[in-house]
């Protein structure tokens, strides 16, 4: 177990399709997840599947929106509009930063 503060920052990529309602909602939810639940300890990038087809393929994206944990490997994916952050965190195996907790809990599926 490593201390959350010392752990490498997870990198997340959100795949969306154009500027749809769902895309917008998913982007907003992803930002909130990173900024608040993870206290900014992650890097988020957004990719439009129409603009970067190769990234879609290499990240195994089959539908949008999909949030992919690109680092650390292995890849972990969550499909949906990210409106349930606990489920997202669980699926992407991300530990939540608790203000008073010295150790972050690694939750495994």
């Amino acid at each position: 177990m490593t201390r959350a503060g010392d752990a490498p920052r997870p990198e997340l990529t959100l795949f969306v399709s154009g500027a749809s309602d769902l895309s917008a909602r998913a982007i907003a939810n992803a930002r909130e997840l990173c900024d608040i639940r993870l206290d900014g300890r992650c890097r988020l990038s957004v990719v439009d599947v129409h603009e970067d087809p190769s990234a879609v393929r290499s990240h195994g994206v089959r539908a949008t929106p999909t949030l992919v944990r690109t680092s650390p490997l292995p890849l972990r994916r969550f499909i949906g509009d990210l409106s349930h952050p606990d489920a997202v965190l669980l699926r992407l195996e991300l530990s939540v930063v608790e203000p008073d907790a010295a150790d972050a809990t690694n939750v495994t599926a």
């Binding site: 309602d21 129409h50 929106p65």
Partner: protein
């Protein structure tokens, strides 16, 4: 979280190590699949990616997924379309459908050129084509109903999967074009109205600055031109001449031949004046028969005099194809050296000089000079004096006795106007009568003298009805006939003063009755019918004809003093007086000799058969207060 699980088939060949990894991956994939189902069920998926090997072939997107884009594109004010490289419409928004008056369904799949005519497809090539960089082009689309729709098309290239597409936006220019047409129409209208206004303005200017009858400049314009000429001469140090031309006896033409003939004469005179002058000269008409000529840049007085000579010669020439038309004019000239003076001063000086020409008999030109200026100022002063005297009732009447030559007794008096100055002195008639005649003040002056004389003569009358007392003779001016009915003025004055009509004598001058208008004759006849006697003054000096003597309701003639004074010394004068006395007697008129200064003249007059006489011999004009003493002296 969904509780459903995917059922997986067991693998055929178990391997503990591989199996552990595979099993973990499988769990992840299972979880993903479960998530996908849940997300689909919850409507959280908007697109599926179909991949073939490394190639993503297509992204299936839910129709509602791009609603924000779609709503924006469909509802934008501009039409929008995507063109394939071959010019087919791949996509068209609703607005483009509206522009082309058809459904978007009938646009998509069709070549855009179908909605164009003429050179429009070529024009579109500028922004659509393999190497076109994009840009804008203005052209006309033809809508489904065949109606042209002017549009501005903006194009930008779009490379999609190796194909060069073109995105087009269509801005409807109909309103703008209509506005441009309206503006063009309005500006055309505006131009037409401006032109109309200019014509009207020109007409108005013409009307304001020109005399309607002759088309010549009017007073305002000629004053303006004179001022301009003076300004030029102030620099060039040259002379400017202003000529005041007044037709002699024009009133006679109007009275005898009518106003139409008068107008026509004025027009011909205008033409003839213009004909004689240099192109740089200006002729204007500033009043009835008054013309003004501006001759800028003359060489001096001699040059101006030469012009007058030519003008007089031209006017006196007979015209009208044999029909004799003598036009005589009096011309007054004022010359400004090096632009001195003003237009008003020059006009006034020329006017003054013209009056001098007229008083010298007309048909001649006179230059304004310093002496004339003094005379003009003197007249102006006299005019003010007369004005004030009338206003302040300082008109006085002096009386000169008229004596009966048979018995030597006083028969009556001639009333003569005087002005009592404020300092107590008395102004002689020569100082104000000419001005009174010219200015028209002779009308109120005449009425005042008539009233005063009648009031005075009434006091001379003995009480009771008969016998008739002293008479009073009052001079009339021709101007008094022009203003209303003189006969009613006389009647009213007699009534008011109570003087018996037979005691009033009225004296007319020969010139006053020369233009014998029927109306004047009627007035005179009415006065005679009142019982008032009338006579001709200064007989022999004017132009009175025998016809006049017969026509007029006269009772006496006064023989001018110039003939009377020659009695006893000049044979010629004596014969004239004798003839006049005889003539008067034959026509049934009394004769009265004027200006008798000696007893010899008195006796000669009596011997020739003259009835009455007046003159210094019998008494100078005197105030009414001295009349009684004078009568006693003469008795």
């Amino acid at each position: 979280m969904s509780s459903r699980m995917l059922r997986m088939r067991p693998t055929s060949r178990p391997d503990p190590l591989v199996d552990a990894t595979t099993r973990a991956d499988e769990l992840v994939r299972l979880a993903e699949a479960e998530d996908t189902l849940r997300a689909i069920g919850a409507g959280e998926v908007d697109a599926f990616v179909v991949a073939d090997g490394a190639d993503v072939r297509r992204v299936f997107t839910l129709s509602t997924a791009d609603r924000p884009y779609r709503m924006f594109v469909e509802n934008m004010r501009e039409g929008a379309a995507t063109l394939s490289s071959s010019g087919l419409v791949l996509y068209a928004n609703r607005r483009l459908g509206e522009l082309l008056s058809c459904s978007t369904g009938s646009i998509v799949g069709a070549p855009l050129a179908r909605f164009m005519s003429g050179d429009a497809p070529l024009a579109l090539e500028e922004i659509h084509g393999p190497d076109a960089p994009g840009g804008t082009v203005e052209l006309e689309l033809i809508d489904a109903d065949g109606v042209p729709v002017p549009v501005l098309i903006g194009g930008s290239p779009l490379d999609v999967e190796g194909e060069r597409l073109t995105c087009l936006t269509f801005t409807d220019l109909s309103a703008q074009k209509a506005q441009e047409r309206e503006i063009a129409r309005l500006s055309q209208e505006q131009a037409a109205r401006m032109a109309e206004l200019q014509v009207a303005q020109a007409a108005l200017t013409e009307q304001v600055t020109h005399d309607a009858l002759t088309g010549l400049p009017n007073r305002a314009l000629i004053v303006d031109r004179i001022e301009q000429a003076l300004a030029v001469c102030r620099r060039s140090r040259k002379c400017t001449a202003v000529l005041f031309v007044d037709l002699d006896l024009f009133k006679h033409v109007n009275d005898t031949r009518g106003h139409a003939a008068g107008d026509s004469l004025l027009q011909r005179v205008a033409e003839r004046l213009v004909g004689v002058l240099r192109p740089m000269d200006t002729v204007g008409r500033i009043g009835g028969d008054e013309f003004v000529i501006l001759a800028p840049e003359v060489d001096g007085h001699l040059h101006a005099a030469d012009m007058c000579g030519r003008l007089l010669a031209e006017l006196s020439r007979d015209v009208e194809g044999g029909a004799v038309e003598h036009v005589a004019a009096s011309i007054g000239v004022s010359v400004s050296v090096a632009g001195r003076g003003t237009a008003e001063i020059l006009l006034h000086e020329a006017d003054t000089a013209m009056y001098r020409a007229k008083s010298l008999g007309g048909a001649r030109a006179e230059m304004f000079d310093a002496a004339l200026g003094r005379q003009a100022r003197k007249r102006l002063r006299a005019r003010r004096t007369l004005d004030a005297a009338l206003e302040e009732q300082r008109i006085a009447v002096h009386y000169q006795p008229v004596v009966d030559l048979q018995d030597g007794k006083v028969a009556g008096f001639e009333a003569l106007a005087r002005i009592a100055e404020r300092d107590g002195t008395v102004l002689p008639p020569a100082d104000f009568i000419p001005v009174a005649e010219d200015s028209g003040l002779v009308v109120p002056l005449g009425a005042e003298v008539l009233t005063l004389a009648c009031e005075q003569a009434q006091r001379w009358q003995p009480p009771g009805r008969a016998p008739r007392g002293l008479t009073v003779a009052v001079n009339l001016s021709s101007r008094q006939f022009g203003k209303g009915d003189l006969s009613s003025v006389v009647e009213w004055t007699l009534e008011r003063t109570g003087l018996p009509a037979g005691c009033l004598h009225l004296e007319l001058t020969e010139t006053a009755i020369m233009d014998l208008h029927p109306d004047i004759l009627r007035q005179l006849e009415r006065i005679r019918d009142l019982g008032v006697e009338m006579g001709l003054d200064d007989f022999g000096t004017g132009y009175a004809s025998l016809t006049h003597l017969r026509q007029l309701p006269l009772s006496f003639v006064k023989i001018d003093q110039s003939f009377v004074q020659g009695l006893g010394s000049d044979q010629e004068d004596e014969r004239i007086v004798a003839a006049v006395v005889d003539l008067a007697a034959n026509l049934g008129l009394r004769s009265i000799g004027e200006g008798v200064e000696t007893i010899a003249q008195q006796e000669r007059l009596r011997d020739l058969g003259c009835d009455q006489a007046q003159g210094y011999l019998f008494g100078r004009p005197m105030p009414a207060s001295q009349v009684a003493a004078a009568i006693a002296n003469l008795a």
